[in-house]
Symmetry: C2
Subunit: 690 residues, 2 copies
C-alpha cells in the first residue's frame, strides 16, 4: 500500500527517462556537498530526502562530501552557519526568515554548480523539496532558481483526532495517530505524513482534537508524555513543532485540584508544573491549543473570569520555555432560542474578544475562524481580523470538507481561502488585507500565522477523495506564499501528482478550479449557509438548522428569506466591519450578490445585480450545479485523461464523482422543491421541480 | 434498588393495616391447600408468589397442606388435574383455555373458603396474581370472584435488545439481558421482569432484536444455546415461552453453507438440525420471530423466492417440535425516491402478503403492525387485518414510545390500542373487529395473538418514565381482555402502583387518559404522521422525512398538504379496505378528521367536520397541546397528590413532566411557525407564531 500512487500523493517519484533535462540533473547532482549544522536532525532529513528522491527519479547514487570538490559539478547545501546573502539568518524560532532558502544555478570556472542555501536546516529541507518538485515536473535547472521565505511564521495543521481512533469531522478513515485510547506503536505513517507536510512548508501541528476528552486530558501527564514525545520526535525530524490541545479544566478533571480557576494560585502552579514536565520530555514543544467556553467545553467563565484571564494564566506557565498559547475564538451561544431574532451568532466572536484587545500576553495568539459562522461554503470574512490591533492573531481554515462535501464531493478550497486572505479589512489605509493581519505585518505582531483542520485519515489516499489531496497541498503552498494563484497551485499539484501530461493536468486543473462554485451552486444559495442535515453536515435539509439552538437560520417564509444583519433594522452585525465594508454590507444595493442572504432578508422577487430574481437564481444555480457535477464525471471519464492515469487512482476518483453527480441531483431537487413549494413561483424555464 | 417503589412497579407489597378487609384475608388465607400438578415449576412459582405476597402485605405465614383440612378456613389451589367446572382443561399448549382460572369464595359448613382453580399451573399463577392484586387494592373477597380465560392465545413481548447491551428504540437504559456481547450472568433482574409480565398474563417473549446482527445470529449454535437455555429456564418458571429472532441468512452468515435459499435442500437440512439442537436445550422453545427482506435484512427475495417459501421452510423445521414461525409483515421499499408520488409505503404490506394468503403452513403466523406505516401517534388500521382469511395472524403494537415521546413525554397508549382492536374490518357481517381477527375467532385460525415491543431497560423504574409502566401493565391486561376499558386499566394500574388514594389515583388516571391526545395535539396533525427528527424520532422536524427515501411524506406546499391515497386520483391505498371503510376513507367528506391528511391532500382553508379550517386546527391543537402538557405538570405538583407519593417517585415523574412541558412548547412553535411561514395564514386568535 505504501508504494501506491494514491499514498504517494504529490511526492510521486517515478523514474525519469533518459535525455534532458534529467541528464543535466544526473550530471549536476552526482555529488552533494553538505555544509553547516551537519548534525541537525532536520539537515539529515533533508540530505536523506534528497538522496532518496534522486535515486528514485534519476537513478543516481549521489556522493556526499564535506568540502567543495576541486572541479566538476555538484550541489552545495549550506545552512545558516554559512550566511546566505540577502536573507536573514540566526533568527528567532518562529521568524519566517528562519525558514528561508535560496536555490541558485552557478556557472563558474567552466563547471556548473547548484547551490541551496537555507537560513536554517528547515530552510534547506524546504529547498530540497522544491528542487525535487522541479525535477519531478521536468523543469530545466534555470527555472528552479529562487530566493524565498515564507510569508507566515506559524504554518500549522490542527488534527481533530480523538484517542479512540476516530476523527471529529474526519472523512478519510480512522486516525493515523491513535487507536483504542493509545498512541499507535508504529509511527511510520505519521512519519510519511510529516514528510508530506514539510514538503509544502508546514512547521507546526497540534495532534489532538480541540474537543479534549477524558483520555486526551491525560496527554500532559507523566504517564503519557513519553508517548507524546515519540510523536514529537517524528515531527522534529521534519522541522515541525508539536502542539497539544489541552483541557482547560485539566487540574480538576484529573482529580488534582478542586478548581480550574485561572486566578487560583494552585491552578497556576499546576500549569507551571505541567509546562516544566512537558518541556522536560519535549524541549522544543510548540505550545497549547485551547477551545474554552465554547460548545460546552470548560473555560474561565465558570469562575467569573474572562478569556484573557484564562489565556494569560497558561501563557505564564509556557513563557519560561518559549511556548505559545493558541486560544480559539470560536465562542458563541450554542443554546440559542431560535425564536429570538435579536441574538446573532455571527456577532459573537467580535463581541467576546474585541473588548479584550491589549489584555493578552505576548505569547498568546487568538485563532480566528475565517468567517463568523463555521466554515460554510460561503460566508463573509470574520470582522475580528483587523479589529484587534494589539493582539497576536492566527486565521483558522478547514481543509477537511465538513460543510463542503466531506471529500465525497470535489471542492477545491484554495480559491475560497485566497479570497479570504485577499480581503481588505480597511483597518488601515494600506496593507490591511487579511493576509497582512495574519503575516503580522499590519500591526507588527510578535506571533501570527495560519492554522487549518487537517483532512487526512488512514485511507490509502490520505484524504478519501484522491483529488482532495490538492487541498492539503494547496493549504501549505498558499500559507507559504499567499500571492500564489489558486490556478498555479492547482497546476503544480496536478503536475506533481499525475505527471506532467497536459491531457491530464489541464482538465484536472479546470475541474479543481470549477469545483467550489459547483458545490456552492447546488447547495445553500447566496451566502445564507447551513441547510444541511444536522450533525452530519452532509446532504440537503433546508430546515435542518432552522428551529435549532445553533444560531443558524435562513428565515425563509412564503414571501422571502435571508438574515437581516443591518444596523438600522437587523442585528447590527454589519457595524463590526470597518468602513467602507460596513456600508457595503449594510446596503441592500451595494451588498455583493453572493452574500446577499447573509446580510439581508429580501423577497423572492428581489432582483440581484445579475439581473435575476432571488428565486430564479436559486433554481438556475441548482440546475447548473447539478449539471456541472455530472460534467465533472464526464471530464474525468474522457479517454485522453483516463488512459494516462493508473487504473486504481482513476477508479477511486470516478467512484467519488459518480456519487457526487447523483447526490448533487438530490440537493438540487430538494432545495428547488422546498423553495418552489414555499414561494409558489414557477421556474421561468419550466424545468421539473417536484 | 430492588426494594424501591420505582422498581416494584405495580407489584407493590407494602404492609396493610389492621382491620377489614385485611383481617378477613388473614383469617381466610392462613392455610393453603395445593392440589394438582404439584411438581410443575409454574405451580411452585404460584405458591411461592402467593406466600411471599401474603407475608409482605398481611404479615401472615401461611401453612401449605396437601389435603383439605377437616375444619376452618383455607385457600384451595387446584390445577387441571382437578377439573374446573365450566372451563376447558387438558388443552393444547397455545389454547387460551390452558390459562383459564376461577376464583371462588365458598361458604360451607360454617366455614369460609377461597378456591382458585386453574386449567393449568399457568392458570393458577394468573389467579394468584389476581388474588394478590385484589388484596393490594383492599378489595373485599367477594369482589375477587371471577372466572376468566384470556381472549388471545399468544400474549407476547418482543425485546429489541442487542447483544452489545443496547436496545434499539429503547428509552429506559441498557438491556437487562445482554452486556458486551454476552447474556448476563446474574439473571435476577430478568426473573423480576418475568414476574411483572406473568402478573398481567404474558405467556411468550422473544429476547433479541428483530434486526439480528452478527453476534445474535449465533444464539442458535451449540456454543450459545446453553446460555439461551438459562434465560428460557427463568421464563419457564413464570409460564412464559421463549422465542428467538433469527437471521434468515444464518446458514450463510455462520459460514456453514454458501446459500440461504429456502428451497435448497442443504438449507432446509441446516434449519432442521438447528431446530433439533434448540429443542434439545429448550424442550418448550416457542419458535422463531423473523424480519426478512425488510430494511436491508436478508430474506428469500435474494433467491427469487417469496415470503411463503421462506416461512414454510422454517415452519417445516419447527413442526416436529410444535414450534412456531412468526413472520413479520413490515416489508416495504426503504429506498424509495421521494420524487415518485405513485409508490405508497402504506400499500406495501398488503401488496406483498395478500397474494400469498393460503400458502403458509399452519405453524406460521404473520405478525402485522397495527397500522400501515410505523407506530405513528395516529394512523389507520392496517388493511391486512381481515384481508388474509386463510393465514394465522398476530398484531404487533409498540409499547416502547418510539414515535410517541420516548418515555420523556407521557403517552398512555392503551386507548390507541383499544381503538385498533375495536376497529371493524368489515371482513364479515359480524364479529369482524380486529380483536376477533387476532383472537382467531373470525376465521378460526389455529394460532393467533398479540405481540408488542417492550419499553423496559435497566433503569430503576424499568421504563424510564415511571408512568410509562402503565403501558406495559396495560398491554398485558388489554391482551388478556380487550373488552376492558382504557380507563379501568388506568385505574387498576394507578391503584396497584400508588396505593388506593383517590387524591392520587384519580388525577393520575385523568393524566393517563388525556395524554395520547395531548401528545398528538402538539405533534403531527390530522394523521399525517412523521415530522420528527430523522433516525431519532424525538422532537419536531416537519421536513425531516419529506425528501427522504423512507416513503413518509406530507407534501405540504404554500397552498395545502396531505397525501392523496384515494382510488381515483391518489395511490389507491383506500381500495385495500373492505366496504364501507373503503368508501369512508376514500371520500373527502366522510373521512374522519383525525385521519384526513393521511388519506387526502387538501388546502389549508379546507374545513373539517369540526368546523375549523385545517390551518386553524393546526394552530389550535398545537397551542392546546402545549398548554395541556404544562397542565400535566401542575396536576402532578398539586399538594394533595404530591404529599401522598414517595418523594423519589414524585420527583422522577415531575422531572419528566417538566421536560415534556418545555419540549411541547418547542414542538408547538416549530410546527406552527413552519405552517405559518408556508401558508401565510395568520392565527385567528392572534397568538404568537414566530
Amino acid at each position: 500500500m505504501n508504494d501506491s500512487t494514491l499514498y504517494k500523493a504529490w511526492l510521486q517519484d517515478e523514474r525519469k527517462p533518459e535525455g534532458d533535462p534529467f541528464d543535466t540533473y544526473r550530471r549536476l547532482l552526482g555529488r552533494i556537498v553538505v555544509k553547516g549544522e551537519q548534525h541537525a536532525r532536520v539537515l539529515s532529513t533533508a540530505v536523506a530526502e534528497l538522496i532518496n528522491g534522486l535515486q528514485a527519479m534519476l537513478g543516481i547514487q549521489p556522493e556526499v562530501l564535506n568540502e567543495l570538490p576541486q572541479e566538476g559539478s555538484c550541489l552545495v547545501l549550506r545552512t545558516a552557519a554559512e550566511p546566505v546573502s540577502g536573507l536573514a539568518h540566526e533568527v528567532p524560532r518562529w521568524d519566517t526568515g528562519r525558514d528561508a532558502f535560496a536555490l541558485r544555478w552557478v556557472s563558474a570556472d567552466g563547471t556548473e554548480r547548484m547551490e541551496l542555501d537555507g537560513t536554517s536546516a528547515s530552510g534547506v529541507l524546504y529547498g530540497v523539496f522544491r528542487l525535487l518538485f522541479g525535477i519531478s515536473r521536468g523543469w530545466e535547472p534555470v527555472r528552479l532558481v529562487t530566493e524565498e521565505q515564507p510569508a507566515n511564521q506559524l504554518r500549522m495543521i490542527n488534527q481533530w483526532d480523538d484517542a479512540d481512533g476516530s476523527i471529529e469531522r474526519g472523512y478519510a478513515g480512522a486516525s493515523i495517530f491513535y487507536r483504542e485510547g493509545e498512541i499507535v506503536r508504529d509511527l511510520q505513517r505519521v512519519r510519511d505524513y510529516a514528510r508530506l507536510l514539510a514538503s509544502v512548508g508546514i512547521n507546526a501541528i497540534s495532534i489532538n482534537n480541540v474537543n479534549v476528552h477524558e483520555r486526551e486530558t491525560r496527554w500532559v501527564t507523566e504517564e503519557y508524555l513519553p508517548e507524546v514525545a515519540r510523536v514529537a520526535e517524528v515531527f522534529r525530524d521534519y522541522g515541525i513543532a508539536l502542539f497539544l490541545s489541552i483541557n482547560f479544566a485539566a487540574p480538576l478533571s484529573l482529580g488534582d485540584l478542586d478548581t480550574s480557576d485561572p486566578l487560583d494560585e494552585g491552578v497556576r502552579q499546576w500549569w507551571a508544573e505541567a509546562a516544566t514536565r512537558i518541556y522536560r520530555h519535549i524541549p522544543d514543544f510548540g505550545g497549547f491549543v485551547v477551545k474554552a467556553d465554547s460548545e460546552h467545553r470548560p473555560g474561565p467563565f465558570a469562575y467569573g473570569r474572562d478569556h484573557a484571564d484564562g489565556a494569560n494564566m497558561l501563557a505564564e506557565a509556557m513563557a519560561p520555555f518559549g511556548g505559545l498559547v493558541i486560544w480559539r475564538c470560536f465562542v458563541y451561544n450554542c443554546m440559542q432560542d431560535w425564536r429570538d431574532r435579536s441574538t446573532d451568532r455571527a456577532r459573537a466572536a467580535y463581541d467576546h474578544f474585541k473588548p479584550l484587545d491589549g489584555r493578552f500576553h505576548d505569547n498568546v495568539l487568538l485563532q480566528i475562524k475565517n468567517g463568523p459562522m463555521d466554515f460554510q461554503v460561503r460566508e463573509p470574512v470574520s470582522p475580528l481580523f483587523g479589529a484587534m490591533q494589539q493582539t497576536n492573531q492566527m486565521i483558522e481554515f478547514q481543509i477537511t470538507q465538513e460543510y463542503t462535501g466531506q471529500q465525497r464531493h470535489l471542492c477545491y478550497l484554495v480559491p475560497q481561502w485566497k479570497q479570504v486572505l485577499d480581503f481588505n479589512t480597511h483597518a488601515a489605509d494600506a496593507g490591511a488585507e487579511v493576509k497582512h493581519v495574519v503575516d503580522g505585518s499590519l500591526f507588527g505582531m510578535k506571533y501570527s500565522g495560519v492554522a487549518a483542520v487537517s483532512n487526512i485519515g488512514d485511507d490509502e489516499s490520505w484524504t478519501g477523495h484522491p483529488l482532495a489531496q490538492a487541498n492539503l497541498y494547496g493549504y501549505g503552498r498558499l500559507t507559504w506564499d499567499p500571492e500564489l494563484s489558486a490556478e498555479r497551485i492547482a497546476e503544480e499539484w496536478a503536475d506533481l501528482t499525475f505527471g506532467d501530461h497536459p491531457e491530464v493536468t489541464h482538465p484536472i486543473r479546470e475541474m479543481l478550479m470549477a469545483s467550489w462554485s459547483i458545490y456552492e451552486n447546488y447547495t445553500a444559495p447566496l451566502g445564507v449557509g447551513w441547510m444541511v442535515v444536522p450533525h452530519y453536515h452532509y446532504g440537503p435539509d433546508v430546515d435542518g438548522y432552522e428551529y435549532s439552538r445553533w444560531g443558524t437560520y435562513h428565515f425563509a417564509d412564503r414571501d422571502g428569506m435571508g438574515v437581516d444583519r443591518t444596523i438600522a433594522k437587523g442585528t447590527g452585525y454589519t457595524s463590526q466591519y470597518f468602513s467602507p465594508n460596513k456600508e457595503m454590507y449594510d446596503s441592500l444595493e451595494k451588498c455583493p450578490d453572493e452574500l446577499l442572504l447573509f446580510f439581508h432578508h429580501v423577497p423572492y422577487s428581489y432582483r440581484l445585480h445579475s439581473g435575476k430574481t432571488v428565486i430564479q437564481h436559486i433554481y438556475d444555480t441548482h440546475f447548473a450545479g447539478a449539471e456541472a457535477a455530472e460534467e465533472l464525471m464526464h471530464t474525468w471519464a474522457a479517454p485522453a485523461l483516463r488512459d494516462r492515469v493508473d487504473p486504481r487512482r482513476h477508479a477511486a476518483v470516478a467512484n467519488r464523482l459518480a456519487e457526487q453527480a447523483e447526490h448533487a441531483k438530490h440537493w438540487r431537487d430538494v432545495v428547488n422543491t422546498y423553495f418552489y413549494r414555499k414561494s409558489g413561483v414557477p421556474d421561468e424555464r419550466g424545468r421539473t421541480i417536484y
